[in-house]
């Protein structure tokens, strides 16, 4: 089955091409068949290949497939390869392709119901399939350039899908903002790529058979020859991570991206694409291992983002916006994990987060669908009664994200916290970051509980008369994925149960052991925690979670906050609701200055153009005036002129002989 690995990305691509060219002619059923079928098939092939990989037991470098030379020329000995198209299947990419195709399939199924009445049905599925393809290119790439290809292509699909309802200016703007913000991050990746090429002379992760140049991940120490480079490459990549994985300072695009259809938010802006940055760091972690400074920067940005986004989430009233900031916050946890050198923990959180965040978004979609596009939490309430399946699955997702023991989020989040704490034993800065993360856990519990209580509990606050809106349950094609994801949101975490708890042999967790060949940090010392400390930390975060849930329960289920408390938190509320005013800041510092320079240059250029016209015109007329006087019309005048010229030529020839 490993030989068929290429089918995994190619199948969705084929679906995209078919839907793009023939979709409108074939009708909706065929579009669904192509769109959903291709991804489902891809999932099956992925399962098969991963199964083979496990059976091979050859984990260290995984299995590489070289498809065709890409940015390359010459043959035989004269071959120069900048980049090829090839795939690398190792535990890391195996995890990712299962997540991408698996959750992707469910979201495709859901979309078939959600988008049923949309004009752009075929276009939607073409883009969604293309996105799946791009994401698979990103995770399966066997070299950094191809990874970057996937990285950019997912950005493109994100642009297309955020602006899917392009008639709305807000959607088109959001798409553009997402793409350009991502591109700013990509600048960092691009320059990092230049450095990689200049330093290693190859982009390949691992040494290709028969190649003289070792893959750069096999020879990470080479970078140490230039200490500045050792820090520059990971920091530049970090810039890209902040763009793609929506970290401070570039996270501002993600909330706006909610302009896209909800399944898109689930697939791209929660489950898969935004985890690309996390994947990138995990993939090139040997480069990060060389630079503790870069790791610290990662961790700090992660913790800070997690906290800031969580605070903003507490003050949002749009159900999708809350989830969007929640995503940013959760991504912050993952980046914190990376920064602690716990790459497998971060990837584990990517996986569990994919399940429960997809579930939450799809659930939100079902709510919006059932309320005829109502997204405002203040107009909801008591929905559990009207839409029980959606409600109960949503509650599972809620429990998973706030980290109730036994649910998926608990294990992954706790692993990250433990690793950060462990690292803090060596580098106390990490202890501060651990503290920030712990507070964020409480905030997470608070805003998620707020969301659930406002939407599903209490009384329905929407008007029954206005617009004849009656909350109703979603169709089966939407409920089925919800149910599967709900199951996933529980069991996905079980691969991360610490071995000592269930009496299994070995250290750490099953998922860590699985990922270790690809993600085990080299040279980064992490403090080892004894089992009781681990349990203590877990208890601590559960306690914090309970506080958060309790506070939300008092405020939003009970009689509400006291007026005094309301006054006290008002400035914070304004700050959070205003998203820390980062958009305004960027507008003043980046967007408008660039615009002004641009305007200035445009008028300058127009001036230059006009200026040269005038200059050329007047000088031609002026010169012409002088020459015209020489044109006396007298033949003898011309003759003299010629004669003078002849003398000049002869004299010059003689002088220059």
């Amino acid at each position: 089955m490993l030989d068929q690995l290429w089918l995994v990305p190619v199948l969705p691509l084929a679906g995209a091409v078919l839907n793009a060219f023939l979709g409108r002619r074939f009708g909706r059923d065929a579009v669904v068949a192509f769109g959903v079928g291709s991804v489902a098939l891809s999932f099956m092939v992925a399962v098969g290949t991963v199964n083979d990989l496990l059976a091979m037991g050859q984990m260290m470098h995984g299995v590489e497939t070289h498809l065709f030379p890409w940015l390359a020329w010459g043959d035989g000995a004269a071959r120069v390869t900048v980049a090829e198209v090839g795939m690398l299947l190792d535990p890391l990419s195996a995890t990712m392709i299962l997540v991408v195709t698996g959750i992707g399939t469910l979201i495709h199924v859901y979309s078939a119901g959600y988008m049923e009445h949309d004009d752009g049905f075929a276009r939607y599925f073409a883009y969604l399939n293309l996105f799946t393809f791009a994401m698979l290119v990103l995770v399966l790439a066997n070299n950094l350039v191809l990874l970057f290809v996937g990285w950019e292509l997912v950005g493109f699909c994100s642009w297309a899908l955020i602006g899917f309802w392009f008639d709305r200016d807000s959607a088109a703007n959001a798409g553009r903002k997402a793409f350009i913000t991502n591109r700013i991050g990509d600048l960092g990746v691009l320059v990092a790529l230049f450095l990689v090429w200049a330093n290693w002379g190859t982009f390949a992760f691992h040494t290709a058979p028969g190649s003289m140049t070792p893959g750069f991940l096999d020879d990470p120490a080479k970078v140490l020859a230039t200490p500045l480079l050792a820090m520059a490459i990971p920091l530049l990549l970090l810039v890209g991570v902040t763009g793609k994985s929506a970290q401070i300072p570039l996270f501002v695009w993600l909330p706006d991206a909610m302009e896209g259809p909800t399944p898109v938010s689930a697939l791209i802006h929660a489950a898969t694409m935004v985890t690309g940055g996390v994947y990138l760091v995990a993939r090139v972690h040997p480069v990060y291992d060389q630079s503790p400074e870069a790791l610290l920067a990662l961790a700090a940005i992660g913790a800070l983002t997690a906290f800031v986004a969580a605070t903003i989430a507490t003050a949002q009233n749009d159900i999708k916006k809350v989830l969007a900031y929640s995503t940013v916050s959760q991504l912050g946890f993952m980046v914190l994990g990376l920064g602690a050198g716990a790459y497998s923990a971060a990837i584990f959180h990517v996986m569990t987060h994919a399940f429960f965040k997809a579930l939450l978004f799809l659930g939100a979609g079902a709510v919006i669908h059932g309320l005829a596009n109502q997204q405002d939490l203040r107009r909801m309430g008591g929905l559990l009664r009207y839409m029980p399946v959606t409600g109960w699955t949503f509650i599972v997702g809620w429990l998973a994200i706030i980290g109730v023991p036994g649910f998926a989020g608990f294990f992954s989040k706790d692993l990250i916290l433990a690793k950060a704490f462990g690292r803090g034993l060596v580098d106390p800065t990490y202890l501060v970051l651990y503290g920030v993360a712990l507070v964020t856990v409480g905030l997470t519990a608070f805003y998620m509980s707020r969301l659930v209580f406002l939407a599903f509990f209490g009384e329905y606050r929407g008007s029954h008369d206005e617009g004849e809106v009656h909350p109703h349950e979603a169709p089966f094609s939407m409920l089925f994925p919800l149910s599967v994801l709900a199951v996933g949101s529980v069991v996905a975490g079980w691969v991360g149960v610490p071995a000592f708890l269930i009496g299994a042999g070995g250290e750490g967790t099953a998922i860590e052991r699985f990922l270790a060949p690809a993600t085990l940090a080299t040279g980064v010392w992490e403090g080892t925690l004894n089992h009781s400390t681990e349990l203590l930390l877990a208890g601590l975060s559960v306690a914090v979670t309970l506080v958060g849930v309790g506070a939300a329960g008092v405020i939003f289920l009970g009689e509400g906050a006291s007026p005094l408390l309301g006054e006290l938190v008002r400035p914070f509320r304004d700050l959070f609701a205003g998203r820390w005013f980062l958009d305004e800041l960027y507008g003043a510092v980046v967007v408008r200055p660039v615009g002004r320079v641009s305007s200035y240059l445009a008028s300058f250029d127009a001036g230059v153009v006009e200026g040269t016209v005038t200059l050329v015109g007047s000088s031609v007329t002026g010169l012409g005036g002088i020459l015209a006087r020489l044109q006396s019309g007298y033949v003898r005048g011309y003759a003299v002129t010629m004669l003078v010229g002849a003398v000049g030529v002869v004299a010059a020839a003689w002088a220059l002989r």
Partner: protein, 106 residues
Amino acid sequence: MPGLPETVPTEAYLALSAVLFGIGAIGVVLRKSALTMFMSIELMLNAVNLTLVAFARQFGRLDGQVIVFFVMAVAAAEVAVGLAIIVDIFRSRRSVDIDDVSWLRG
């Protein structure tokens, strides 16, 4: 004659040719009559012809002579057309004063 070279060196022909060319040039500038100007131009052409023939001898090749032949042919054509123009101008202006012909004033 003692002291004098047996053959005339090419340089002598060239010098003579230069002098003739110069005189012709002076004529073109000095004379107002279109006819005399024409003759001066012929003189200049002949001066050039002389150099060509002189070089033809020096290098022992015939190309120079052949070119002189062509120059003569072209000169003949030029004279024919030029004189026709002068006749035409004279018909309309009753003058061959070259300065009267200044329609090309810029």
